[in-house]
Assembly symmetry: C2
Homo-oligomer: 475 residues x 2
């Protein structure tokens, strides 16, 4: 592949074509786009804006410099120097045939010609071509610039070459063994869609209820393990064959209107069980359960940061739980109490130092809300920003450990607030300490300014109740 | 509800029953478990271990104190003081009828009696009962202690009361409008399962390939938006009715062996479109796209922390991208270059202070690998831990901003390493600085110790090339 140009030609600049443009450009390839629609530059520009905002954020290192995007005035101009040509024109076979003829009249002999078709088989796409093996299915998923999988169907050697390039542009190619209408994913999606149409048609559930059952339910599982690995766990130590045999009779029950099902012959059961062993047999069921649980916790916590779906449910619960905590009236102000989640640990097996920063940030948030600078106050355009922290890491912390933070006030004067946080294990051992210097700011100017009168009054009360001496003499 | 006891009775302690035990206990309810299997305490104990490890980690505040678990010796003993009774016995109607009779002979008149059945309708479950409306379907999903959704089917008043309690124990009840075999989720799952069996049977794809197409593809979408909201976005501004009419003809194509589909009458199209408007109409398509993208980025980044599925793919890409970065040979050592991802920002609209800690931790990781303390070195039982940091926050940073970190050496002597990190915007403005004091440690004793000879040699070279003066005079 090393002699190939890093030039892709994208034919058709809709949502899918635009997604391909983004994938290649942001991986450092040059892209020639052909689309006769005068609106194409605007439409592709919008997809690119989305992609530039989100794709680089997936990585913890910088992506290569973006390639050059050229709007070609003809298919000929677009494809002549391209090593990958991607067809994303409308789903009509006559249009696709005409497009492939034009592409193959002008492209390099060894250029790869992928089709984004969700339905057609490669034999149908290439039926009028003299170089049939160059044409293959490369079916991506919306949004193409974020969802990694691409279904590949076609000539084996061509797919090997295509896989190499998809790896280079950071996607996940899956080769489908035999061509069928709609490949694999859309077969599964069609099945769900038909069943969902019946459920709406028969007034069993609304679109929203069906969506909620998916995204608060099995959708969470499927983002990290598929159908078979999930059921392998459900089967437990007895194994996959046992699970299928148990599940088997249900297939004949009249649960659905879609009823033509394969016979569960010994041969089919063995095939599934042995494929599942090959796929997942390296992990015990117990290990798979723990992997699944860690994945679910990490993903639901990620959705918390977006306050969406299962994450919004958790944020709501946090508020309810917080309001049930008895008010702080003792000598020490407890500002955080929680356990270390699985996504907070690093390669040393302990809580990463960055997460201590998050804990102390949460402790400060408690104080800020405690003195009355609540959601409404922040909406009014005033808040606190941290200007400096000094953190001492004394003991390690591990996933599942409960800990709490006690916070004292070193300084509370006008726009200045200086806190001393002590993070302690459930049995009172100090794990870390942090002095944190905060400034009250105007969110419009992003400059420091004095707090409103009622905050100042609360600050004074906070200081007189919870003042501590600056023993560290630091920060 | 306030007069109700916070006592649940769980009848049947398998994987599902055990999950219910965990949900109630960890929400602070007392639980009476009845299961005649002598292995039940062990089995439930295992589920509880999993739940205790993972469920509290979902929340950013501590859960209530755990309730008391009692192993009851009879159904009578288990249910007599319970306000929620959950049946999770095997899926045989005769066993379920016997169980409900025994429960209703001994429980309070107003006790809620949920069934975990995945297939039976409430009318079937309660056919032999004299208090039919108390019995309803409360169908949860594995793992019950993490996946929030519960399908409720039954008497409307009973379901209102059941919903309140499921809210209290932090789950997500969805009321199904009419009873049908297998409720909603298992209808959808059955459809996918049948289609997947055909794909394996016909050698189109293996179990692993099907699972990968799900978890690197539409599974990621479904963890945050369901079927209809996802397709609403695909339809674009033209709307849901347009999408269905476009998609409509495909339903008649011979893509699948499961072919009985509802007619797409105007009435059905209108029903779906108006339900979808009610569900998602508050967001524009553009807004939904951005929400979806943010969710996908956050979830895939969460899977990175677990090095699994789409996250493992990203970690692999990070390594490839890193190895393509030209070696650092200039005056300044560049230790991080990246953009701020969407899950790093907080309510002030900027990068949270905790994430600065993560950035400087990443910068230190670069240095540690740079001096030869790589994956193998850490596997051999030696590493560096951070003992103290001092951070000055100078400018704000927002999602999508590119930045880099330059790192100089303040001290490199034996087991001590002190670094000065300067974090700068793409155009060179200093955003934050951090002095970081690290100690070389033995991962077995978790105590500090001198590094191996080759590390010491590399440290010396690092110091002589990249020494900086301690201008802050701090930490």
């Amino acid at each position: 592949m090393s002699n190939q140009t890093k030039i892709a030609a994208i034919i058709g600049g809709g949502v899918i074509g635009g997604g391909w443009v983004a994938r290649f450009l942001l991986a450092g390839w040059d892209v020639n786009l052909f689309d006769p629609d005068p609106e194409a530059p605007r439409k592709v520009g919008e997809v690119l804006d989305h992609a530039r905002r989100s794709l680089p954020a997936l990585y913890d290192v910088k992506l290569p410099d973006e390639g050059q995007l050229t709007f070609a005035s003809s298919i000929k101009e677009a494809v002549s120097d391209a090593s990958w040509i991607q067809e994303s024109v409308p789903e009509r076979l006559d249009i696709k045939h005409w497009t492939f003829a034009e592409i193959q009249a002008h492209c390099a002999q060894d250029a790869l010609i992928g089709s984004s078709t969700s339905g057609f088989k490669p034999s149908e796409l290439s039926s009028e071509s003299e170089n049939k093996s160059a044409i293959f299915v490369a079916h991506p998923f919306n949004p193409v610039y974020l969802v990694p999988v691409v279904e590949l169907v076609g000539d084996a050697d061509t797919l090997d070459r295509a896989s190499d390039i998809l790896d280079q542009i950071l996607m996940k190619p899956i080769k489908v063994k035999k061509e069928i209408d709609a490949h694999v994913a859309d077969r599964l999606l069609e099945a769900v869609w038909r069943e969902a149409l019946w459920l709406v048609n028969d007034d069993i559930a609304t679109t929203e209820e069906i969506d909620d059952i998916i995204r608060y339910g099995f959708g969470l599982r499927w983002a990290q393990m598929g159908l078979f690995e999930t059921y392998r766990i459900a089967g437990g130590e007895a194994g996959m064959a046992h699970f299928i045999e148990q599940f088997g009779p249900c297939l004949k029950w009249p649960w659905t209107k879609l009823m033509d099902v394969p016979d569960l012959t010994d041969e089919l059961v063995d095939k599934i069980a042995s494929q599942s062993d090959k796929q997942s047999g390296k992990h015990s069921i117990r290990a798979l359960e723990q992997i699944r649980d860690n994945n679910l916790v990490a993903m639901m916590r990620a959705l918390k940061t977006q306050n969406w779906g299962a994450g919004a449910l958790l944020n709501y619960a946090d508020k309810q739980l917080k309001s049930a905590i008895p008010s702080n009236a003792g000598e020490q102000l407890e500002t955080v109490r929680r356990v270390v989640p699985v996504d907070w640990t690093d390669y040393n097996g302990h809580m990463n130092e960055g997460r201590y920063g998050q804990v102390f940030s949460d402790a400060a948030d408690f104080i800020i809300e405690f003195i009355g600078a609540d959601e409404d106050y922040i909406k009014s355009g005033l808040s606190y920003f941290t200007a400096e922290t000094n953190t001492n890491f004394l003991q390690e912390c591990h996933a599942g450990d409960e800990f709490y933070v006690q916070t004292g006030v070193l300084l509370a004067e006008g726009k200045k607030l200086k806190l001393l946080h002590e993070m302690k294990s459930a049995d009172g051992e100090t794990l870390a300490t942090c002095t944190q210097f905060l400034l009250h700011v105007d969110l419009n100017t992003r400059k420091s300014c004095p707090p409103e009168a009622h905050i100042l009054k609360n600050l004074e009360a906070l200081r007189s109740n919870y003042a501590v001496a600056d023993e560290q003499g630091e920060a």
